[in-house]
Assembly symmetry: D2
């Protein structure tokens, strides 16, 4: 299992008239979290794409226990629970500044070849860097 | 069971550099779908809020089978599978112009009282309008 | 001068905690307005891109006289004030349901060749369709 | 004149199918820049609101000289060119990692009283903190 933490500060743009972060905007927080998780082991998501992979999200499940508010600094704990193959799973928990868990989520992404536009195995460099955690 | 259909046209703003609709932007499509579902039976989501209810999303699950692209007109079929009480569930299916199902999702929203900030029963007017479908 | 009208309904996603439409979200309303303006004369923005043009925004000026609110149906009047050459200018006015002008804006976009990545003349098909208005 | 710098990293969510940051998404970068400018002198934008002020954007002008791309770390230089009264002006310049100026912008925001919903003078605490720079 591989895990990291990152923080995001809530922007005004991300709030809605309920005074909460709009439920759709968590998706970009989780995007930041998984990109920073990869960066922490020396993998750039941008470079993965440049090397011929697409990595679309196949499934996304999220629960919202408490709202997030404007200007909150949110702590996101990100876990890769299993060594990826064609798919890579990320689990997330978000905590507010009072250390309350306000959300949890899972995204499943699929490695696709840019050339064939078909699912393919994760890049070997990524697997090499992740293997030590499993 | 209550069901309706609505369409949305994909905006440039909603695409990402993969050339797909960004996975986080489907949330606003589902928001449009459920608001139009309510409007189709004479309920305004805005008025529900004005009458003292908040309706935050508690849970959101979505699968992406195929991408949606810029300028696509997407058909969203929305179903309320059970008569709401404190929660209201919406199920969604999105079809592209080739009539392929590209996504399915479920959102669970919770009725909250604006005054007490606690969960509460759905407004009676909404229940009255939905009962005939169940 | 070429002019058209289109409407957009404000989504919850587009509001912010001030209860207004977030100032950054007007940009996608103006995008919808100019795309529909082109569609009204038989030009698809998507097809322009497919024929080898990029059309990035070079300049964007907007004034916000009054706020727009959730669920408002906004009327956008769009004008192309001069026949385009390398640039195309769109002027916009937004009116709320009380027929009050709440915003005005101008965007200047530049035709770029996808191959050379340099500015180029507008596609002849577009010019042919616009000439009768000038 | 008061000036500060802040950085933002481009999210995938903020790109569009042209491979650029969508022109509408710069607005939230400028929001981050002005909020961090205020924070750097000990003013929280959130607290300004809590003390009874609204601060809507009245005017926004932006030029895009070069595109911003996914994962770029953008440097935003923010200047308050004149001591605010009822309005506060922010000027911005964005530089990419090659130190090229890719964008410049100005936003004019208006202080409004939450009670009267009318324009009002900037909070005295803010003015006290800014005066030394002018």
């Amino acid at each position: 299992m591989f895990s990291t933490e990152t923080t995001v500060r809530v922007r005004y743009a991300e709030t809605d008239r309920m005074n909460y972060v709009y439920y759709g905007n968590y998706a970009s927080y989780f995007e930041v979290a998984r990109v920073e998780a990869l960066r922490s082991i020396g993998m750039s998501y941008k470079r993965i794409e440049e090397e011929g992979f697409l990595l679309p999200v196949y499934e996304y499940n999220v629960k919202y226990f408490k709202p997030a508010f404007y200007d909150d600094v949110l702590l996101i704990k990100t876990v890769v629970p299993v060594l990826p193959s064609v798919r890579i799973v990320f689990d997330y928990e978000i905590f507010n500044e009072a250390a309350e868990k306000i959300s949890e989520a899972r995204t499943t992404l699929v490695f696709m070849s840019n050339e064939t536009n078909k699912p393919c195995k994760a890049p070997e460099e990524l697997l090499a860097k992740l293997r030590k955690y499993f």
